[in-house]
Every structure is written in C-alpha cells, then in structure tokens.
C-alpha cells in the first residue's frame, strides 16, 4: 500500500518511490532520489525531455547550499527537505530561499522528523507537502496546518506583512 502523505492540505497517496540504491531503480513511475546519490551517479536522473514517464524529485538536507540546487530547479517536480530532528530549523530557511529567492514552483515536501506542531510554521515557509512521522496520526497532523488564522510576518505564501494587510 502506498504511503499516505499530506499534500495541499489533503491526505493523499504518495506517488513517489524513494530510490536509495541505484541498482533498485524502478522501470517507471515517480521517483525521489537523494541529492548525494545523484551527485555520485549523475546518470540516474533521466535527461530533461527524455523518455522517463514519471515525475522526478530530489531529497536534500537542511544544510545544503541553495546554489547547489539551482541546476535542478527546472528539472524536478519535487524537492524534499529532510529534518533529521524536529529541532533542526535549517530546513525552514532553505525552504524560504527556494520559494522566495529561487522561485521554485514545484512540490516542496518536509520529511524526516515531521510533527504536527511544526507543520504550521513549515507551511508558511513554503512547504506544501508533508510526510508526518509514521508513528503518529496523519489525520491529527493535518489539523496542525490550521492552528492559526492570523500571522504577523511576510512569509513564502503571504508576501505582505501584517502592516500591508491589516483590515
């Protein structure tokens, strides 16, 4: 059974197969490849406009320099940012740089130690999909996206700070 994820505020099946070993590359379908694996095996990533029938995603950690991702931005459908522990906040800044500065329009996914109580912040930083931790209720996690109806700052979704949108 495919894994359930949250995408665009709904619980859906994850269409991606996570590729951790080049020898186990699926023949078709959506694939999610770790950046490290890709750097070691550049040929893993199907050429742009090539024959691959599925979507392509890359998985990175929060400490990656955004410049290292620039060449992939128009080649991939998904960037997944891994949170090794929920307290590691680097992924939030990386997400904002990808959205605000580099203009990445594809799916931006939070994975790893992803918990309900951090997801509202993640959403505001530009994540639109989430792999909540396996041992937690995904339905409950979905509620985390609605903790607040008001915010003060500009963020990746709402460019206007409170002072430009106060009623």
């Amino acid at each position: 059974m495919p894994r359930k994820i949250i995408k665009d505020r709904a619980i859906v099946d994850d269409s991606y197969t996570q590729v951790t070993d080049v020898s186990q590359m699926p023949a078709s379908g959506d694939i999610l490849v770790a950046l490290d694996l890709l750097l070691e095996n550049p040929s893993v990533l199907p050429a742009q406009g090539g024959a691959w029938d599925g979507k392509i995603g890359i998985k990175v950690t929060g400490d990656v320099e955004p410049e290292a991702l620039v060449e992939y931005l128009d080649k991939v459908d998904l960037i997944a940012i891994e949170f090794p522990v929920f307290r590691d906040g680097r992924g939030y800044s990386l997400a904002r740089i990808l959205r605000d500065r580099l203009g990445f329009q594809g799916e931006l996914r939070a994975c790893g130690d992803v918990l309900r109580d951090q997801m509202f912040y993640m959403q505001r930083c530009g994540f639109n999909s989430f792999e909540p931790r396996d041992d937690r209720s995904i339905e409950e996690a979905l509620n985390g996206l609605s903790d607040f109806t008001v915010t003060y700052q500009a963020d990746a979704v709402e460019k206007r700070p409170i002072y430009l949108r106060r009623p």
Binding site: D63, F86, R87, D88, G89, R90, Y92, S93, L94, R96, D100, R101, L115, D117, Q118, F120, Y121, M122, R124, C125, R136, E140, D147, F148, T149, V150, T151, Y152, Q153, A154, D155, K159, R160, P161, I162, Y163, L164, R166, P167
Partner: protein
C-alpha cells in the same frame, strides 16, 4: 502603551487553544517528553527543582495596572502567593501545575499578556530602557520600535528552531541602560547625517559561558529596512550557527568564528534579496506604532516645587530616597520613581500577591496606571508628580519598597539560584542576603556610591555576574558550593566583562571578601571616583592582595 487590535487578540486566543491542545496531547501520552519539552519551553514553562516554572512575557517591561492585578490574581490562585521579576524584564511563577498552565494563559490573554517565546531556542522578549519615553538622555522613545520587533518576532515561522536562544535589546539613550552590547542583537537608535532616525546594529554579544561584547554590523540603517536587516541576520544565524554543541551555539560564537567582516558579508548578501520588498516598513506603520505611545496627560508644572524642597530639607530619609531612587524626567515637575525590590531578607525581584495589588493601586493613583519592570529586577513608576513624591514615599515605606538603595551595592541583581533552579551549581539568594546584611548602613552605602553587584548561581549567567562591577558566580567543587568573584564588569556604553580575582571562596566567607574589596576601594579612591573608575585606575593587584592576605 501598545493596545491590542482584534487581530492581536485573535492570535493570542488561538495560541491559548493551541497550547491547551498540546498539553492535553502530552498528558494523553501522544507527545513524547522531548517533543513537549520544545513546545512548553517556547511557552516559558520549565520543569524546575520543586515544580514547573512559568515565565510570563512583559514586552519591553511595560505593564498597565489591570495587567499587574491579573499577575497578582494568578500568583494567588496558581502559585504560593508570590512572583519573581527576572533579569530580562519578565515575571516568573515558581509553583504552577503543568495541567493548569493553559488556564493561566487564558487569564493572561484576557489582559493582553502571554508567555510566548519566553524560553526555548527562538527569539525572546525584546527588552529596552526602563526609562523609555521619559529619560532626559534619549534621542527618541524606543518603545514603538520594540513593538515593531515584537510583532515581527512573534511566531516567526522561520526562526522557531534556531540553534539556541536569541535576545534582542533596543536602546535610544546616551547611557545604554538596556545593555545592548550583551545581546545577540543590539539595536541602537541613532540619527543619520540629516538628523533622521536610523539604527546601528550590534551583533554577537552575550554572557553565559563565553561572555563577549557585541560588534557593530551596520551603521545608520534606515528605518524601513529594520525588519529586513534583522531577518537577514537571523537567517544567516539559523543556517550557519553551530548545532552540534549547545555551548557553542549562540550567534556570538558564529560571529567570532567568521569574524565580523565575513559575517557582515553573509548578512548583506542575504539582505539584498529582502530589502526593497513588501517587508520594508511603511512610514504609516511607524507612525501608527508611535501613536500607541503618546505623552501622558501631564500637568504643566515646574521642577522642584516648594513642598518637595521643604520635605527634603526636613526629612533626610526622604531626601536620600529622592537622590537614590528617583530619576530626572523629560517633563518639568515629574520624576521617575524606582520601587526597590531589594530589601534585605527578601529574594531580589520577589513580590507577593498583596504587593502586586499595591503596586497596581499606586500606579493608578500616582503614575497614569502604568508600571515598568527593569532588568535590575526593580519596578518603576515612570510619571510621578514631584509634589506627590512625599505622599508616594510615605506609602512605599510600609510596603518595603522605599529602600533607598537603587544603584548601590545592595541593589543586587540575582538569579533564583540553587534554591529554585535545577541548572544552578550553587545558591545565590542567600549570598545576596549575606551581603545586604553586611552593608546595612545606608549612609555608608551612599558614601560608596554606584556599585553594581551581580550574582549568578551557575555559568549560564542569568544574574549577569560578568557585567557586575563586582560579579559573583556560584561554582560546584566536588559537591560543595563555592563562589568565584570578578571585578571590573560594566554593562553601559563602555561595556566590559569582569576579570576573575583568583581562587573561589567558601559560601560563609563572601560577605567578608566583599568587605575587603570595598575597603580597598575606599582607601584608594580619589575624591568622587566610582568603584569602577578606581578599579580601572589601580588594577586588580591591590584587591587581590587584600582578599588573599593570610
């Protein structure tokens, strides 16, 4: 002071609901200890030696009397009848039950108060000068800028999981009572070449295990860029600050490791993408924030009214209190009054329920219903008519708030220490009391003049021992409590970290050691010279020699 809009109130109400839900999930076993730890800390809830401790935010030290009455009610209903003013202008309860914290937050929210980001690895309560808006030496009122920063930093989505805690202070006065050079970011209000408001931004100061004086990262920043510049600094810190060792995780370590020039380059590279965007502060918003801090409805008065002059002449105790505890005011005929929470045998910064009610009542009758907390753990009534000072003093005396020792050796800054805090190596409150008992002669204290004495129970330095003219640090030596003494620290414009005098001392010897240090000062000082100036002139040697003489 700032008054909540519907928007602010809604945010706070939603926060209470969120935290109530988090507490319920923790009690139901759906959140691990570790997960809940991060959530409760961002809400100021520590688990302490005896019970949880809840730290309530007092944004830049401003309170109204309604809020103080609510703080009193909470201290009565949820604590053991007292509360504690901290060294960052906040207030702490030492005995709330974890299960009841959501109810406390609901009560706080009803008076526009909260505990948001009073702990945890996030942007903490912004602090400033306790005499903001009334000080004679300030360029402009820093509080509108504090409120702008407060709103920007509250639930900032990108900076809730920083490498470590992050403290911002704002100063607009010549003397820097906010100690901005010992903060992660110090915002100094200046005037640019045309006389318009601008900011010098200092970064990487701090106390703790590695005390460092901040360095200037930019000068004369135009106001519209304040938030984008702060955001750029925070982003660089969030991305590059160390996360492998909590003792090396503060921004000061990053700034030191990179050097301020390289740090500045990174910040400005980031800032290029943020400035000249929707983040720029519009002039209308600045004016709106300023409108929340109008001058109170002052009466037209002259300084030194006859009744004040007469009472001072006939009552030396009152005269001493005016000299020590009252501060000159921008508005003729008014003074700012500091209520001393440093009476001997009372833990510095502690207040009882009844005292909180009394403070609220006094504020209503003498000072436009406003109260400020200070980083030196006292309370200020900022707008008292000079012709009412005697009446106020007469009411403060029986309450124990009229100890005329502000700025003196016994106006000790002191953390809760080993009596309450689970981090502490040693007790600190009994050390403060020992010193206060030793120096109980007010005339002698006045003769000694301004001396800052700060005590921390461990190297986390909540009692700011590094920047005391005399600093005392509790250390643990094979299970015994010892105290290390340092001299020469200073928090003002010429900020300095004190130097350790030598091997540490046993608890019972501290008052004697301080007496010897003071004796050396009295012998060596030149007419009118402060303790700090004498120390800087004669150096450590004579103090060291006396203290360790056989």
């Amino acid at each position: 002071m700032y008054a909540y809009t519907e928007y602010d109130q809604q945010l706070l109400n939603e926060r209470v609901a969120q935290y109530r839900n988090q507490t319920e999930r923790f009690l139901d076993g759906k959140l691990s200890d570790e997960e809940f730890l991060a959530l409760r800390l961002q809400n100021g809830l520590y688990v302490q030696r005896h019970a949880p401790m809840l730290r309530v935010a007092i944004p830049y030290g401003m309170l109204n009397s309604t809020q103080v009455r609510m703080l009193a009610e909470i201290s009565r209903d949820f604590d053991k009848g007292y509360a504690h003013f901290s060294t960052r202008q906040n207030i702490q309860y030492n005995w709330p039950a974890l299960e009841q914290v959501p109810d406390i937050l609901e009560k706080l929210a009803s008076v526009q108060m909260h505990a948001i980001q009073t702990s945890g690895n996030c942007i903490r309560n912004v602090t400033t000068d306790q005499f903001a808006g009334v000080a004679t030496d300030e360029l402009e009122d820093p509080r509108p800028w504090c409120e702008i920063i407060r709103q920007w930093s509250t639930f900032h989505p990108e900076f809730a999981y920083l490498p470590r805690k992050f403290k911002i202070a704002v100063n607009a006065s010549a003397s820097d009572r906010a100690a901005i050079k010992f903060h992660d970011i110090g915002v100094e209000i200046v005037q640019d070449a045309t006389g318009a408001t601008a900011f010098d931004i200092w970064v990487g100061g701090g106390l703790g295990r590695t005390p460092i004086v901040a360095e200037k990262v930019t000068e004369a920043l135009p106001p519209k860029y304040l938030l984008s510049y702060l955001e750029a600094i925070l982003r660089v810190y969030n991305r590059y600050g160390r996360r492998d060792n909590k003792y090396k995780a503060r921004i000061k370590i990053l700034v030191k490791a990179l050097g301020v020039e390289a740090f500045r380059e990174k910040v400005e590279a980031e800032w290029q993408y943020m400035k000249d965007s929707e983040m720029d502060l519009p002039e209308a918003e600045i004016q709106r924030m300023r409108s929340f801090f109008p001058l109170p409805a002052y009466d037209t008065l002259a300084d030194n009214p006859a009744e004040l002059v007469a009472k001072r002449a006939e009552n030396p105790g009152f005269d001493a209190w005016i000299k020590r505890n009252c501060t000159a005011h921008k508005q003729p005929g008014y003074m700012a009054v500091t209520l001393s929470l440093k009476a001997t045998a009372v833990a510095p910064g502690d207040v009882t329920t009844e005292e909180l009610y009394a403070i609220a009542d006094l504020a209503d009758r003498y000072s436009f219903g406003e109260i400020r907390s200070t980083h030196k753990q006292n309370v200020v009534l900022a707008d008292v008519r000079q012709d009412q000072l005697f009446a106020l003093w007469s009411e403060l005396k029986p309450l124990g708030f009229a100890t005329a020792n502000i700025g003196c050796l016994t106006d000790v800054i002191c953390c809760p220490g080993g009596d309450f805090c689970s981090l502490a190596n040693a007790k600190s409150i009994p050390i403060a009391e020992q010193i206060q008992r030793q120096f109980d002669d007010l005339d002698y204290l006045y003769d000694l003049g301004e001396i800052e004495l700060n005590i921390s129970g461990c190297m986390n330095a909540c009692g700011h021992h590094h920047i005391g003219n005399i600093g005392i640090l509790g250390v643990d030596k094979k299970g015994e409590e010892y105290y290390q003494v340092s001299l020469g620290g200073c928090s003002g414009r010429d900020a300095k970290v004190g130097k350790i005098i030598g091997p540490s001392f046993f608890e019972n010897d501290i008052a004697g050691v301080i007496t010897k240090i003071i004796d050396v000062y009295v012998e060596k000082r030149i007419e009118g010279e402060s303790f700090l100036s004498t120390y800087e002139r004669v150096g450590m040697a004579p103090f060291k020699e006396r203290v360790y003489a056989a």
